[in-house]
């Protein structure tokens, strides 16, 4: 077994070096290797298929470059396509014309919503805003306490009128949080919600009800970078169940390739806005499509391969 895509490609394409142009067979051989690399990076199978079809199309119609050998040329195309799918139409956060701006967080259990709430709050504060956190996970044991601690650490007020751990109505808390923010002149409200599964209709309805109660300016789908093939069904379920306007990828400080980034982006078309890369408040960044592309392909070595033209 070869470890990286570049190892595999170098081996499969040895014979191609020196040929002047891309033949269909060259492209097919490369596509097979790229398919495996994407699958190993946890890109969902349907996404791999359609992505590769796009790459093949482009490769077949491509101008033949003098500077690159066929293998390099295909990799270059793959990389460019990845960056363009991951980053297409990047955009800034939407702010409300009449504050407060409402940002709602949604995602599977344990994906990193509550931690992200604190990071976002700090980030907004750093931009001169006056954010507030709203504790609308009233289900998970001590989720409210957790958000309170997170709020303390990020020095941001937390609206937590209900004790949670099964007590209180999250929709009501969400609704009241807007009035509370207006009263105290907080211009951003970040709504932390309970984790929920795509197949849990009742909880998905609850998320939709919270959404309807606060009409968020942004709904961010928070997804763990370690997620595998389930990324597609889950992203679709959240898209259909509550709807989201942007994606945040978490736990990028690990060594998962993070193919979910491509899956979610490809399936929902929503931009990946932020990257969460650690447990501490400052471990947070805007999303960089180019870094993500080389990560999915097996890090920088792929691009080095191109440069060795």
């Amino acid at each position: 077994m070869f470890d990286t895509l570049s190892d595999r490609l170098t081996s499969v394409l040895k014979n191609l070096r020196g040929k002047g142009r891309l033949s269909d067979a060259d492209i097919d051989a490369t596509a097979r290797e790229i398919r495996v690399a994407l699958l190993e990076a946890d890109v969902a199978l349907p996404v791999v298929r359609s992505f590769i079809a796009g790459v093949k199309d482009r490769a077949k119609g491509a101008e033949v470059s003098q500077a690159l050998n066929p293998a390099q040329q295909v990799i270059k195309i793959v990389n460019e396509e990845l960056v363009s799918v991951l980053g297409g139409e990047g955009r800034r956060l939407e702010y409300a014309k009449n504050p407060p701006t409402v940002v709602m967080l949604a995602g599977l259990q344990g994906s990193g919503k509550t931690t992200l709430a604190g990071k976002l709050a700090r980030w907004f504060a750093g931009q001169g805003h006056t954010p507030m956190l709203a504790a609308c996970d009233l289900q998970r044991p001590n989720a409210v306490t957790q958000l309170q601690v997170v709020g303390e650490r990020s020095e941001v007020p937390v609206f937590a009128p209900e004790p949670g751990s099964g007590v209180g109505d999250p929709i009501d808390v969400a609704r009241r949080s807007i009035d509370e923010a207006k009263r105290n002149h907080q211009d951003v409200v970040i709504i932390d919600t309970a984790g929920r599964l795509g197949v849990d209709e009742e909880l998905m309805q609850q998320a939709a009800d919270i959404r309807d109660a606060v009409t968020p300016d942004e709904t961010l789908f928070v997804v763990d970078a370690m997620i595998g093939q389930d990324a597609v069904s889950t992203a679709e379920a959240f898209r259909d169940g509550v709807g989201f306007s942007g994606v945040v990828l978490t736990k990028l400080d690990g060594d998962a390739r993070g193919g979910a980034a491509l899956s979610v982006r490809h399936v929902t078309g929503q931009p990946i806005m932020f990257a969460s890369n650690g447990e501490k408040l400052e471990d947070f960044d805007v999303f960089h499509p180019d870094r993500m592309a080389s990560r999915i392909l097996g890090m920088g070595d792929v691009l080095t391969l191109i440069e060795q033209a």
Binding site: A41, D42, Q109, G110, N142, Q146, G228, D230, D255, G259
Partner: protein, 297 residues
């Protein structure tokens, strides 16, 4: 494009000689890949299926399906012992020692919840349980475990936020021995396997506990939604604390948890329990047959 219906609802095409047509092979491959078995394992299973089909001959799609099911179950090695070693050594009321279970894994997989659920199972079985809250790092992690303790009827030993997790773990085993409980379950902080400092800390937790008592079980909690990274997680955690069993959580969702094929085989460590929800009773023994049936849809 072809539908992504589950394998169970699909029609396999059989060729005259009893082999499958290309579409059918692809459909089987898709089912395995979509369940997170990974490219290499999927290829291996398909090769095994091919040779079984050649050796035994099949006539109907049902036979192919049954054969695939058999190959998958066999790969999970149903002969492995999957019992959780959480029973005391001798009678704790009479000088015996409590069982000690350490719960580990990356962030957010379900360690604290699993610890609570496992306590529930033991308490329901008439056992006394003590919970050790050795996650002194994450916001309100200690409170979360303490709430589980109240819920299921188990005392929790709490560390201060920022306290040394190894000393909290030690204290809980110490207290459990003194009060003569049947089992001490130690919850640890989530940590990514790539963070050497945090992994060293976990190694220390185990070593320190071992000064007081034998650790009977180290449960690695894997989230069923995890893709290929799960194998790396399992490898590193095993190196550091010698994992003795896997708990596969969140199987109540759409994820199939196919990464455990690689994990079990490479580490020789069985999946022992599965998490099927957020409630106290949502913990079940792992059964290869049922797992494979759910995977095939």
């Amino acid at each position: 494009s072809r539908s992504r219906s589950t394998f169970g609802q699909s029609l396999l095409g059989l060729l005259g000689a009893g082999d499958l047509d290309e579409d059918s092979w692809e459909e089987i491959e898709d089912t395995l890949l979509m369940a997170d078995l990974g490219a290499a394992t999927t290829t291996e299973i398909i090769e095994r299926l091919r040779s079984e089909i050649a050796a035994r001959g099949v006539r109907t799609p049902e036979q192919v399906r049954a054969l695939l099911r058999e190959v998958l179950i066999d790969t999970l090695d149903p002969t492995m012992s999957r019992s959780v070693r959480a029973l005391p050594h001798g009678d704790p009321a009479d000088g015996g020692k409590p069982a000690v279970v350490l719960v580990v894994g990356v962030n957010g997989t379900g360690k604290t919840t699993t610890t609570g659920k496992l306590a529930r199972v033991l308490v329901a079985d008439g056992r006394t349980v003590l919970l050790g809250a050795a996650d002194t790092f994450r916001a309100a992690a200690v409170e979360q475990l303490a709430t589980w303790g109240e819920r299921v009827g188990a005392e929790a030993v709490r560390g201060e936020e920022g306290a040394d997790p190894a000393s909290v773990a030690f204290d809980s085993v110490q207290r459990g021995s003194e009060t003569g409980v049947d089992a001490v379950l130690v919850d640890t902080a989530g940590r990514l396997h790539t963070k050497t400092g945090l992994m060293d800390e976990l190694g220390k937790v185990k070593r320190v506990v071992e000064k007081r008592a034998q650790v009977d079980e180290v449960l690695l909690v894997l989230d069923a939604t995890t893709g290929q990274n799960g194998l790396t997680q399992a490898r590193v955690f095993s190196d550091v604390v010698d994992v003795t069993g896997i708990v596969l959580t969140k199987l109540d969702g759409t994820a199939k948890g196919g990464i455990v094929f690689q994990v079990q085989r490479e580490l020789g460590v069985p999946v022992k329990l599965v998490g099927l929800g957020e409630g106290a009773d949502h913990l079940a023994p792992f059964e290869p047959e049922g797992f494979v049936d759910a995977l095939l849809g």
